[in-house]
Symmetry: C2
Subunit: 329 residues, 2 copies
Amino acid sequence: MRRRVREVVLARPVPDGARVEDFEIVERDLPPRTPAGMVHVRPLWLALDPYVPQALRGRHMGAPAPAPGEPLPGECVGIVLSSGVPGFAAGDHVVGHAGWAEEAIVPADRLRNVDPALGTREHLGILGMPGLTAWAGMTQLASVGPDDLVCVDAAAGSVGGTAGQIAKLYGARVAGIAGGPEKTRLVTDVYGFDSCIDYRQGGWETLIPADISLHFENVGQRVLDAVIPRLRAYGQIILCGLAQHYADGSVARLPLGLVMAKRAIVRGLIVYDFEERRDEWIAFAAPHLKEGRLVEAHDVVVGLESAAAQLVSVAGGRTIGRPLVRIAG
Amino acid sequence: MRRRVREVVLARPVPDGARVEDFEIVERDLPPRTPAGMVHVRPLWLALDPYVPQALRGRHMGAPAPAPGEPLPGECVGIVLSSGVPGFAAGDHVVGHAGWAEEAIVPADRLRNVDPALGTREHLGILGMPGLTAWAGMTQLASVGPDDLVCVDAAAGSVGGTAGQIAKLYGARVAGIAGGPEKTRLVTDVYGFDSCIDYRQGGWETLIPADISLHFENVGQRVLDAVIPRLRAYGQIILCGLAQHYADGSVARLPLGLVMAKRAIVRGLIVYDFEERRDEWIAFAAPHLKEGRLVEAHDVVVGLESAAAQLVSVAGGRTIGRPLVRIAG
């Protein structure tokens, strides 16, 4: 039985950033049998984390931009419909890259099984790459604890929100930085940070607490320049992302004189280095998630036809919570 | 008995850097009795480490420049002639700041006793602040060991030369960077580094070994920009000094994208934080020094009247080995 499925692709290259009209929906024929080594997946949720707009521009981890018509990047959680490879079976829940598609035939090495008892879209967020990133920064590169005063930039975002919650679970005080009252309320009222600064307010820099011991940076130089003078001696900066610079193509540069004066410890975080420790993170996170001590807000649009608009919102920093597309289920 | 002694001071402020004619030798009367809390010291050796030209310009650790006529910064090792304070006695060897003077009455809190059995000028170098700096970087901020490939900028200098020798003692491979054939020969033939790159040669960047695990920086952005692409993943950069930028007033800034891509660990080193651990360093260093496994070259001028010229040479990077002034003894 041949099946026709819809998929969102680029209509043209978008080196300067995608607009809604740069996407199109195509129909593909899936083969009647799933080939060996491949898995037939029905995505349920697609996550459009902030790296996705950059990947479409060819600005993520050195990978080339997807060509027009090619499957697009973005993790999804889905159900296996049929499998041509041991280790995956119909009905399994999987996470991986399957394009922005109703259904797709995907190489098995792009997928991993997940436990549906722990959640569905949670595997894209707290239990997925954003959560693993936050955990790696807070507990593997740093070793957050009760003596820490943690500052988290992009605190309302996928990674930052979880990073601050992890720090709270370890007994630290946590201040967030986010843009606009909706986001700052999310950070304090839902994620439970001790405070959150709105960087769109004049004089926001003066509100940054002094004596920060651990700063988690996702955006770029503007916040770093304000935070470093307020760092504790031997305070640590985890560089997790430089979204501001990915977006505008500028180069983030760290003032070394201040780093020296503060004896600061600056470290780069690449989540892919921690893939093998995902189970450790999930074992820690799952009970906290179940009992509501780790939470996440979602910014959901429904249907593949809304994916392009959601992508543009992500690129513009207008989503609040983890940006998802509900595809099926 | 009143004594007249000679002392080198500034004739005028030198915000743009000192020339020889900016110094003058004055004569001072010392009081007949050493006041309570003070120590009467006869300096034997004066060290003009690279921070001294910067301190004269008011560009070191936020301290103001010495005013014309005031005692000048620079550590010396000397002999106590008389003391007005318990803990110091005539004949003691001491290290501290006594100005560039034949003799001086110095507050006791600017001095510390040293063991003359371990050496004299060695207390200004390997056993002094430069050695402590090198040790703190290699063993306290980093933890150098046999798996390390260490790169040391300003390898012929006071701190760099010792840093590389410490790394060798811990079993690491060590590459130096220095300017000119005399300095590079010193680094390999006397200090025993495995190699040394002459940054005055065209294409020097291509000679930097790949896979550096620990880089010790004393100069500034130019070398850093060349080293970071050759850093091992999770490689460490110890920022010990930014001499190039102190000299020209520019701001050193590190490209954060590369720091992230390399998962680099960038740390600032301030030697004053490690004063309390000096005995630990001396206990380690003394036997190596005695048996010739830690060595240092000296660039010696004789007499206070040569101090100004030596200072200008230090500021211009023209001294080879630790810059000293032989004052007496």
